[in-house]
Symmetry: C2
Subunit: 508 residues, 2 copies
């Protein structure tokens, strides 16, 4: 009965689906959601197509829409396939900027929404920290706490990634000042001066971050973001210490000594900055870092680098926060990317969002505020997202998706390795873990051309850094998807390679 | 059929409901949501009751839960009544810190969630600015744009109030710098320096705000928040100009001259600050203000004050942003509180959240960024909230709820006026518009006691400022609710008054 209920996929040609699709009416309602994954991409217009372009022009009358790539038919999208409003069916290797954990319209999520006992959570958004629902702890336990990073047992929910980072930093500032006060309450002067925003109430503390980092677009998150001008230009943000993040040479096995030196250089820079800023009277309270820099170019560093970083932080009493907004929830083959680093102890704070469906951060008990309403806002997240996450976590566990990510990842990066060998003039710096990774093209121009040509062949990917393509599929990607992707990528590279050659021959 | 489907309200005694409640099973599922409003409050335990206290202790093992008042059974809550996990039924005059627009479990919202054509929007959260759904503009038009403040035709969605304010400020900074550049692109130096967070790329611009203001808890929003130490203590935030917000004397008609002088004083302060900060090389780009300060004590100012403020801003080329996060969506009797001010032209930016179910801001075309991804993040809001808002806006219009707010508000504040006359030692400074307002008690201690006693009698309210109780009912509050509230309030005041008298007699 349920299967029938969801079978209607109007505009798509039936031969692109495993089973034929039909129209079904039930209780007088036309059923609309796709229930099966297309067998292959299917492109019938250029992208963006005519419908997308019309919608773009219309939307542009009420807001800046220049970031729109195309408009999507989310009813028809399914699994690893995104369907646009012009009926183009694309294999999605970008998934809403790394956000869709188990594919579009997953039946378990449809079921979750339809459950009578979940309805009120979608309807009545609570002031969660003041009037939580009776089942709140239970819901946390079967979702966020069920996948907590080892060693982190406390949880704060938030509505988005930037807020998770902002409040994670606040937790570090609170813990730092509490320790400094040695159990004494804040002074009258502190209580008065903080209202206007000056010391000692608002002390001149700072957070260390890294070149090419991206942590979000609110002011505090921007202060530790250092990747592209589009994020920061024109905005007053605090000036805080920025260390180099290692830029490794690839292939790794041929550049061992150089990469070690690069990572050592970066760690020395971290320690020098901590010492010099502490001396200058602007103490470094915390360090925030991505396990793999994403927006900034998919920059990876070794486990040893992160171990060294933790050691330096520990030595100088600097809190260590890992920003897993883009890397968390399994895409690297471990649930949390920092689990690859075999850290001596868990990081102090781990922030998440995107695939986790809700924002928030895990923290060590030391970072729990002692007073009410210190880390707080009206909503502090959204229990309806946590209910959906509960279903996602269940699917990940029951279907052992982390193992699948590792298996599929081997095919993906193995295949990409082959293409890199085949197109040495086009591809370089292949890097990845699980199904999370990137490859570089020679220039931004060529990268953008490749992304556009891939899309025209039915594969949606995204760029990052200056000239990288990033791969961010769902956790349900399988080998047959990888085959399709590699085939399309090969064909695009072949085209681009030929036209490059022609160009060069013409020049010569 | 639909009515039957939602009829089950298990723990509540049937005589407190308009019609008797029963158990219904349908398609094998126990129907759980309340479908009718209780006739009156019904209290069976102290609040928090034993179940709430147990849940509190359990939740406290994984996070700081000190802000929790009690745990709620959202299935059983309905309309203007909140039901806690101990079965206590409370008339809710606080509504999740001013967030529930048309009452708990409104049938139109239940229907919205259940509609097959809405499902995919709840399941597949898009990167809205990159891959928007095909019906996005249509959805905006029937929700946010259908209630846009007069003169503001452009819209940016965001996930929460703080992000709305942060990005609203960024829109002002972008417009300011663009104008300053006079059509020239940013310089190489600007593009380079903004990455580290220093001038000229990150210029030392500022936003003027007001004493007692509350705008959110991320760093930029905190820079313009000046109400309580709990929000800002220990956090490094930029030091920006803070002007006095008028503190009016009540009753207004007896303090006309003094209040005019107070507002004049505040406006002069605003202008002096703009001039002096501009001179000091930290130009004031924008001014952010609440139409009525909420968290900071429900401070109202006159229409003339806001007209004067707009004039000063206009004279000094300072953008004016109105923060309607708490005041928007009808509770003052107009859809936007600033509509009470008869401003010469619309404000430049109007931010919202809470009752609007989604965050965001309206802006004048001048504040539209010219480039892609300047005001941007992965989610930029959540279309599933916009779908719910669409239903809310429909209900507000069809049921003419703004008229009801004005009618009910007259009863509410008329009744409170009577109580203020009756208890001159306890109540003062009654102020309000529509159903949005406050009254003061003699001290924080007495205020907190009154809130707690009101709750014990079945009315949920909230505090604000130092010693105010704020009233933030839904838009569906009616006269019979007001009667219940006034009756309970009277009885609490009588008790407190008697015990105060006894105390004083004992002292004498």
């Amino acid at each position: 009965m349920r299967t029938l209920l969801y079978r209607y996929v109007p505009a798509l040609k039936s031969n692109f689906f495993t089973k034929s699709q039909g129209f079904h009416k039930s209780v007088g309602v036309l059923q609309r959601l796709a229930t099966e994954e297309p067998k292959a991409p299917f492109i019938q217009t250029e992208i963006p197509g005519p419908k997308s372009r019309t919608l773009f022009n219309e939307l542009s009358t009420v807001q800046n829409s220049l970031a729109v790539q195309f408009f999507v038919d989310y009813d028809k999208s399914y699994g690893n396939y995104l369907v646009d409003v012009d009926g183009n069916v694309m294999l999605d290797m970008f998934t809403q900027i790394a956000s869709i954990p188990i594919g579009y319209n997953h039946p378990c999520l449809v079921e979750t929404i339809k459950k009578e006992e979940n309805l009120s959570t979608f309807i009545n958004r609570p002031a969660l920290a003041v009037f939580p629902p009776g089942d709140w702890l239970q819901r946390l336990q079967s979702s966020l706490l069920a996948v907590a990073p080892p060693g982190l047992n406390e949880i704060q929910t938030m509505a988005c990634g930037a807020c998770s980072i902002e409040h994670g930093m606040k937790a570090m500032f609170i813990a730092y000042q509490r320790k400094k006060r040695g159990g004494q309450p804040p002074s009258k002067e502190e209580l008065q001066t903080c209202i206007t925003g000056v010391a000692p109430g608002c002390p001149d503390l700072c957070i260390l971050s890294f070149k090419n980092a991206f942590h979000g677009r609110t002011m505090g998150a921007l202060a530790i973001t250092h990747s592209k001008p589009v994020h920061k230009l024109d905005f007053p943000v605090p000036y805080w210490p920025m260390a180099s993040f290692p830029i490794l040479k690839y292939p790794l096995e041929e550049n061992v000594r150089e990469n070690q030196a690069e990572e050592r250089r970066c760690l020395e820079e971290v320690e020098d900055l901590i010492v010099s800023w502490n001396k200058s009277g602007r103490p470094v309270v915390g360090c925030v870092i991505e396990p793999m820099q994403a927006e900034g170019g998919d920059n990876f560093a070794s486990a040893e680098f992160f171990q060294g970083l933790q050691e330096i932080c520990s030595k100088h009493d600097v809190s260590l926060a890992i920003d897993e907004v883009q890397t968390g929830c399994g895409s690297t083959g471990k649930f949390w990317a920092h689990e690859h680093f075999n850290l001596k102890e868990s990081p102090d704070i781990v922030a998440f969002s995107k695939k986790m469906l809700t924002g928030g951060f895990y923290y060590k008990e030391h970072y729990r505020p002692h007073e009410a309403q210190r880390i707080f806002n009206t909503w502090v997240g959204d229990p309806s997202k946590v209910i959906l996450l509960e279903a996602v976590v269940k699917v990940i566990k029951e279907q052992n998706l982390l193992a699948r990510v590792n298996d599929t990842g081997k095919c993906l990066f193995g295949g990409l390795q082959g293409l890199q060998t085949q197109y040495p003039n086009l591809l370089s710096r292949l890097r990845g873990l699980g199904c999370y990774g990137s490859i570089d093209l020679p220039s931004m121009e060529i990268r953008d051309k490749v992304i556009s040509k891939l899309r025209a062949k039915g594969v949606n990917t995204g760029g990052c850094g200056e000239k990288s393509i990033r791969f961010r599929p769902t956790l349900t990607l399988e080998k047959h998807h990888v085959d399709i992707f590699l085939d399309k990528f090969n064909s695009v590279l072949h085209e681009v390679d030929s036209s490059q050659e022609k160009c060069e021959r013409a020049k010569a």
